[in-house]
């Protein structure tokens, strides 16, 4: 945990719960299909890149609905 940022920790937990496969630190792959989500952190912002490499969403850790918005985006990209 000492060298893991929040984005990588969130991705690892999503995989541990079984919602997607962790293919590299911070990178999740859908169980079926070409869905992919890469999570990156910059300061208080967690950014999500989709399977084509486009940044599709940014979430500020200070936002009240951080978890809900973040999970909703991943659920769509990774189809869970």
């Amino acid at each position: 945990m000492a060298t893991q940022n929040l984005a990588e920790a969130l991705a690892a937990d999503i995989a541990d719960v079984g919602l997607a496969e962790l293919v590299a630190p911070g990178i999740l792959k859908a169980h079926e299909g070409d869905g992919l989500a890469e999570l990156q952190q910059e300061g208080d912002v967690v950014r999500v890149y989709d399977h084509s490499g486009d940044a599709i969403a940014e979430f500020n850790t200070a936002d009240e609905d951080f978890n809900e918005s973040f999970l909703r985006t991943l659920a769509t990209e990774l189809n869970f």
Partner: protein, 417 residues
């Protein structure tokens, strides 16, 4: 990158090498350059980091120093707030379907059960006509909602399945245009017009940062073209936990403890909606050398992306709408607990929501005894890369498993608050 004179993919002798962690190598090289008092090299390395690693902590810190953009987080232990977000993420992820179900009470607009059943029958017919037996089977056992237009009571948000399908088709069409630019660049790589070093090119303009990375990737078509006997020679059997065996051997409580339920959304587009305003990508990529060719490709991508955004909105806005619509549909269906077809108004169109149960390896390891784990373990075939290299030989192996492949990264310019 071009012209900085620094390349982390070159070792001290100038030979090509692939460091395990490029970012770390760049940071180490920078520290060494400063320690040695070699400020010219340090400047070149910093230029590389800003051009090629703009999202990294180092790149962000340098950009902040030089251009005043936002600094990035350094790698560190999670703060208490981050730990709380991580814990909440796990809680929500574990219960995602239950949370949707509790929030899924909706009121239907324009409910028409007869028309809804006809759409389902057409969708089954369409899936069968396309020989998509998996989809046809799932549709055949599906319930159907009386309308694909509804409002969620909890937050008054509305969804219209026809609009969702139209957005889905538009997004696929946009992706296809973008793929044509990528294929044009890939053709340049395959023909040698873009050299493999440097492997990263960045174009920055008012709309954002566009990066082309050339890295090794599997050539799926070449792999599929291998004969079954060759594939078998590079296959090993690895232990894998089986969902079917878990269902058979475990108690209901144990099964629930080692599995996770999800909702999968499929689109059935029997009648393709008309999408207006799709821009034509520029696929004539030119340039006198690798750098010019790569930069011209990235300019084409930037131009295409901006044209798409002018007509369809930003990718972030489109993704947010897609997520909101999907979540409302999934929540409306979650409480029904089985395959459910959400009909469109157009012929044979709709979305299919189905349940997926996944066995979770970590939970198996945490919750079951070694004997129980053995009882639900099977041997599953898996490609072994060492065997593949031995069977194919190094040249053919590299062609199939390490094909130099183009990929893009697009980060829009952050809007000022």
């Amino acid at each position: 990158m071009a012209g900085t004179g620094y390349n982390p993919y070159r070792d001290a002798d100038g030979k090509f090498s692939r460091p395990q962690d490029v970012g770390q190598k760049v940071e180490n090289d920078l520290q060494e350059a400063y320690a040695a008092g070699d400020f010219q090299s340090a400047q070149a390395i910093e230029a590389y980091a800003m051009d090629n690693m703009p999202e990294s902590a180092l790149g962000q810190s340098l950009l902040e120093q030089n251009f005043g953009t936002a600094p990035a987080a350094k790698r560190k232990e999670l703060s208490p707030r981050e730990k709380a977000l991580k814990d909440r993420n796990v809680d929500l992820a574990r219960q995602i379907v239950e949370i949707r179900a509790s929030n899924g009470d909706v009121t239907f607009d324009d409910a028409n059960p007869g028309r809804a059943r006809r759409r389902l029958a057409e969708a089954i017919e369409y899936a069968e006509s396309r020989s998509n037996t998996n989809l046809a089977t799932k549709l055949s056992s599906a319930k159907v909602l009386p309308s694909g237009a509804f409002q969620r009571k909890s937050d008054k948000l509305r969804v219209n399945t026809d609009a969702v399908i139209k957005n889905y088709v538009a997004e696929k069409s946009i992706e296809a245009g973008r793929a044509r630019i990528q294929e044009a660049i890939q053709a340049k790589i395959d023909s040698g017009d873009i050299a493999l070093t440097p492997e990263k090119y960045t174009h920055r303009d008012d709309s954002g940062t566009y990066t082309l990375t050339i890295g090794p990737a599997m050539d799926e078509e070449a792999f599929e073209a291998l004969s079954d006997s060759v594939k078998k020679q590079m296959t090993v059997e690895r232990p894998s936990v089986s969902l079917d065996l878990a269902r058979e051997k475990l108690t209901a409580e144990q099964f629930a403890a080692v599995t996770n339920d999800q909702q999968v959304m499929d689109f059935v587009v029997g009648k393709r909606p008309q999408i207006d305003g799709l821009p034509e990508p520029r696929t004539e990529i030119t340039g006198a050398d690798s750098n010019e060719v790569a930069m011209d490709g990235l300019k084409s991508l930037s131009s295409y992306t901006q044209s798409v955004e002018a007509n369809f909105g930003s990718k972030a806005d489109r993704a947010a709408k897609k997520s909101e619509d999907a979540e409302i549909i999934k929540s409306a269906v979650a409480e029904r607990g089985q395959n459910t077809f959400v009909p469109g108004r157009a012929y044979a169109n709709g979305t299919l929501l189905s349940n997926r149960t996944v066995i979770v390896k970590k939970q198996v390891e945490d919750q079951l005894s070694p004997a129980q784990i053995r009882s639900i373990t099977v041997k599953a075939p898996s490609i072994d890369l060492d065997k593949a290299k031995a069977v194919l030989g190094p040249v053919r192996y590299a062609q199939i498993f390490e094909r130099p492949t183009a990929s893009f990264r697009v980060t829009p310019k952050r809007k000022k608050a």
